[in-house]
Amino acid sequence: MLKMENISKIYRTDVVQTHALRDFSLDVKEGEFVAVMGPSGSGKSTFLNIAGLLESFDGGSYTLDGEDVSHLNDDDRSRIRNERIGFIFQGFNLIPDLNVSDNVDVPLRYRGFKAAERARRVQAALETVGLASRMKHVPAQLSGGQQQRVAIARALAGEPRILLADEPTGNLDSLMARQVLDLIEGINESGTTIVMVTHDPELAKRAHRSVHVLDGQVMDLKAVPDTGKRETKGVQA
């Protein structure tokens, strides 16, 4: 589903070059739930930005859903983000002026769906996250956990092939975090590939496997023991 080989990313200023990723390789199979861990500044976010086609890279190759996305133009990257990738951010990133329904509707607008199809998808996504009754609420009227569920609904509405989550429970208390993680697990069980960046080893345990990043490189792989709750899928770096 997601295959990076020897990806390098360098941030340049007039006086200094920073190697954010170097020889970064990762292979995520379809239907996998992978946790990406590492300390601050290790390159996790850069990896996630590149994986989500939000940033370009300087070397290596990247294949997403069977398509080489290394040299796509901006319009094609936007199209792939819209059609195949869902994002969940730590800070929820809901648009404060828009109500819940309109927030979930945002990616569907850019997909060019008709109004009836958009409405159907918004309804279905909000039912999945249990917020169908809050359609007309604005984000400020919701708790943090509810806002993150709206963000998840927004990511799901486009029926993405892969979900990229950046510290999805970072701003939530433990109860809310558990609910959100249960939701993410459920999404994965329905077949969506998930890559989650997190600092929290306890969260990482919920993934099929975790990948450790240090100084812009994948350090090792650690298969998560099968708890019996979920089926652990084939894993390789």
């Binding site: 939000l54 800070g91 990133n93």
Partner: protein, 437 residues
């Protein structure tokens, strides 16, 4: 998507009301200034009878001082003498032609409640009305017999008929002008062509005349011109007849020539006429005649002075300064929403989709500024009409054309001002926006 973008624009404007108000105000001031100046220009530069532009011709004959050319269009007088006017009318070489001047008469109503007052009369031939397409509310022009027989008949303007007869059909009724009884034969609908192309000598932007009477009354009533008289040759005869026989120019002469061939024929006729007059000792300067269509007549008479053109240019420069300020404000507004921009990009919005969204927003801001600017312009013109004595100031007003131009200008200028900020914000990598979210 346009309606969606429109809705986002309104939400965005509501989100930052102070910034929105600043932008709208900056645009409004610029638009207000430019629409004020444009309105003046529009009034002065219009051709109210453009559809007959190539049929109506102002006649110029150079009977001027051999020692010094006349200062005017084509170095020729813009009016003609009584001698030439009557001779050209008598020749009747054009399908329609008229000579006219403005005079002042004391009007006495049969209604004792209306005190006698001075009116401005246009003294002319009955062809004046069909040539210039004057609209009639009641009756019509006087007949040829009135032109030939100096009959005391009149056509009233709408305003005069309203004042004297309360707007009722007054055809057949009488008014007293300079102690003579005149029978009303027609009443015009509101007619006030601006500029007053048929008489640019006497206030191109002035209101129309109060009433119209036959030219043949000039001699029996010894009607003097209330307009511009220009003379170059002393005359020992100071009687009215001496004035009529003089080389003074004070009459406007127009010919209606429906085809280019008719125009050429008439030009030849004028040239021949001047040659004949030279033989009689008149027209001491080299023979010269000119026919100007309405557009050319308005242009060569400089109805729009250079000062007004400069004023319009300055107002547009001021608008440009306002729009430069607006660019900064728009950029600040857009950059404040960089998180949303990054988010929309992450969710699949292309650069072009966001560019369109932000251009729509600047267009809506421009529309708001335009509406407010029209108000500012209206106040500006109101002030001009009441504070300035210039013709332009009095005549300038905001018609629907100017309102449309003002709004269009505001929207287009705002969208142009929004191009750079929109282009800039959509080009920054979305990951950067998401980091600062």
């Amino acid at each position: 998507m346009f309606v969606y973008n429109l809705r986002l624009a309104l939400l965005s404007m509501r989100r930052n009301p102070v910034l929105t108000l600043l932008m709208v105000s900056a645009i409004a001031i610029g638009i207000g200034m430019s629409t004020t100046c444009l309105a003046i220009f529009h009034v002065m530069s219009g051709n109210p009878i453009a559809y007959k532009n190539d049929q109506l011709y102002a006649v110029q004959l150079d009977n001027w001082d051999p020692a010094e050319a006349y200062t005017g269009p084509h170095d020729m007088p813009t009016q003609v003498t009584y001698l030439d006017a009557t001779a050209l009318m008598k020749a009747a070489k054009a399908p329609h032609q008229n000579v006219a001047f403005v005079s002042g008469l004391t009007l006495q109503s049969d209604n004792p409640a209306i005190k006698p007052y001075l009116i401005v009369a246009r003294v002319t031939y009955n062809d004046f009305f069909p040539m210039f397409d004057t609209p009639f509310e009641y009756g019509g022009p006087w007949g040829n017999d009135a032109d030939q027989g100096a009959q005391q008949v009149t056509v009233l303007s709408e305003e005069t008929n309203e004042k004297l007869f309360g707007g009722a059909n007054s055809v057949g009724k009488e008014v007293t002008l300079d102690n003579r009884r005149f029978r009303v034969v027609g009443v015009l609908k509101k007619w006030n062509p601006t500029p007053k192309f048929y008489d640019l000598e006497n206030g191109a932007l002035d209101d129309g005349e109060d009433l119209y009477i036959p030219f043949s009354l000039t001699q029996p009533m010894e009607l003097h011109s209330f307009g511009n008289n220009s003379c170059w040759k002393d005359t020992s005869d100071h009687t009215f007849q001496g004035y009529l026989n003089s080389e003074c120019v004070w009459l406007q002469f127009w010919a209606e020539l429906p085809t280019a061939a008719a125009r050429d024929d008439y030009q030849q006729f004028l040239n021949d006429y001047v040659k004949e007059q030279k033989k009689a000792g008149r027209f001491p300067r080299p023979a010269k005649t000119y026919l100007s269509n309405v557009d050319e007549w308005l242009k060569t008479n400089k109805v729009v002075p250079d000062e007004v053109r400069v004023l319009v240019a300055l107002s547009f420069m001021f608008l440009a300064v306002c729009m430069l300020n607006t660019i900064g404000l728009i950029l600040a507004k857009f950059l404040r929403r960089s998180g949303e921009i990054g988010l929309r990009r992450a969710l699949g919005a292309s650069r072009m989709a966001l560019f369109r969204q932000y251009l729509v927003e600047t267009g809506v801001i421009g529309l708001g500024g335009g509406l407010l600017g029209i108000g500012v312009g209206w106040i500006g013109l109101f002030g001009l009409r009441h504070m300035l004595s210039s013709d332009a100031g009095r005549a300038a007003h905001l018609d629907w054309t100017m309102v449309g131009v003002g709004l269009l200008l505001a929207v287009v200028a705002s969208m142009l001002a929004g191009i750079y900020p929109a282009w800039r914000v959509v080009r920054i990598p979305p990951a950067l926006y998401l980091k600062i979210q």
